[in-house]
Symmetry: C2
Subunit: 330 residues, 2 copies
């Protein structure tokens, strides 16, 4: 039976969905739902294509109360830059949660993933960072370095950002962008330890395979969001830090055990803390979060299908309201 499918391009989606508080709030709602136990979120489907130095991940989740569910496909082909193409790509498909019919193809080339990933950082900062953040540090200089700081600034309006990366020129470019976007002081720094020492909020956004943040750098009144590790083999935070922190939180325990900082800490035999709380449980008030501004907290984000379903339904709602996109009958 023929039905209409809405097609939204990256340009249209960039017009419809911004990294703003409403986007943070829909992602927060997805985390809260995750804690309810009624979300269905299967393990990530992952396929390596060694012949092309590529990989593809597929994520999805059904969240009761959301009209649709997304299937998100994220290819990463790491030789693409050699031929002038971006490494990361992808799209989301939105299905009706009532009939399973395809409702929309969101040809976002990864844009919605960027937004929902940064929005999760804001959710973590909102619920785990000290109530006052004056200085934030970002480790890494890519798109997520910029977006994570923008997102965190929505919920903790700090006045100063420090940027550290292995490439000082890239760190300077990132700092310049952040100054322009947020109208605050942003500076590239050469010593990550000193930057962390001055910060109440640190976000790590690298594909590091060896820790860039040391346990000895932890200090009272610090929150770290580690969003870089989303695969076995990646590791941004020294394992001992997870144990030394007052609170270590996962976006999804089952994913962090396989793909996140928790995996490295377990592999090193360092983690003996049992099952960590999940961010959604803290959002929903089912687990205790930070209890004083002096505590040290760490949040490990691997990226969940629930965020994809949240941002895709959010985008489609905006498209319906404005009549954006084209439709095809199939």
């Amino acid at each position: 039976m023929a039905h209409e499918v809405t097609i939204l391009t990256e340009a249209e989606l960039r017009g419809l969905v911004k990294l703003d508080l409403p986007a943070v709030e829909v992602v927060e709602r997805a985390f809260s739902a995750l804690a309810s136990g009624t979300v269905v979120m299967p393990p990530i489907l992952s396929m390596a294509i060694p012949q092309a130095n590529g990989e593809v991940d597929v994520k999805t989740a059904y969240i009761p109360g959301f009209d649709g569910f997304a299937i998100k496909v994220s290819p990463g082909f790491f030789d693409n830059p050699k031929i002038g193409l971006p490494s990361l790509n992808g799209l989301m498909i939105l299905f009706s949660a009532r009939t399973g019919l395809v409702e929309a193809m969101l040809l976002d080339n990864g844009y919605l993933t960027d937004v929902r990933t940064a929005a999760a950082g804001a959710v973590a900062a909102r619920h785990l960072a000290p109530s006052r953040v004056e200085t934030a540090t970002v480790i890494g200089t890519g798109i997520q370095a910029r977006l994570q700081i923008e997102a965190a600034h929505l919920v903790r309006p700090f006045s100063r950002v420090l940027v550290w990366g292995r490439d000082m020129a890239k760190a300077r470019a990132c700092a310049a962008d952040l100054t322009e976007r947020l109208k605050i002081t942003a500076e590239a720094v050469s010593d990550p330890a000193q930057a962390v020492a001055q910060s109440q909020l640190v976000v790590t956004t690298t594909p590091a395979e060896d820790p860039v943040v040391r346990a000895e750098w932890l200090h009272p009144g610090l929150h770290i969001t580690a969003m870089g590790s989303d695969q076995a083999g990646k590791n941004e935070i020294e394992a001992a830090a997870l144990v030394a922190a007052d609170l270590y939180v996962c976006d999804r325990v089952s994913q962090c055990e396989l793909l996140g900082e928790l995996r490295s800490a377990m592999a090193a035999g360092v983690w003996r803390g049992g099952t960590p709380p999940e961010l959604g449980e803290i959002v929903a008030g089912r687990q205790t979060g930070r209890t004083s501004d002096d505590q040290v907290t760490i949040c490990d984000l691997t990226g969940t299908g629930a965020q994809d379903t949240a941002i895709a339904t959010f985008a489609m709602k905006a498209a319906r309201k404005t009549g954006a996109g084209s439709t095809i009958l199939t």
Copy 2:
């Protein structure tokens, strides 16, 4: 970076891809590749949505030598017929195997799945059925009952078909359709045992949860393709038949163990045959298939991502040749 994505509707795909020998051959090539050990085919991503009596499966495979790989999403929402919608739906997305960029959206509503599923039946019949088939029986009266017989007829041009289903009226309708399509004698029958007794080729196409084909019905010179079971809980062939047959073949052992006839036979403790050969190994000549027309063979088809990649690249090649479909820049 903006790039073009081709969009093909169900109507366009029905014009481009037919259930014919070229379609069978591309699926056969996928099976042959599966035997080479170079195909990457991750486990099926499966999500149940009990609130809507629904489920979604995602399949994919990378096949060296194919330009693209498909991600196929198959929702099944079993309350849909109550509101006048089909239970099964879905689409395929074709990605470049070199860059991971989205190349095409195949909005087929399950049509390509129907074709590649029937084509696999033809591959099984070509490599496992006795060289001469005069009478074929199909168990089941749905779309796959029709397509499986059409496909098998391409490789074993039998002159007579018997159709059995629980609903005699549906069996008659199916037989009438087959007579019209294949210009051969097709008749609905009330006794499946008698039908099997008269047949050299039997295809089972039901969602049965209790066996419809008994081990005692096996007779020399019989091939059975069981394509109905694609989920734990389904079972069309009595477990003892798998053991009694001279040869039992899987489309993919790892899938049949979880979703196919092999699962039931293992659960019943009946299967002690070790690891069965795969259809692709027989196609590629790496395992021995039928060695005489008197043998009894059974092939268990659960449906593989390799078939999806094969049919999707085949469809896209045809679209390129004819300029079919529309394009969108994203």
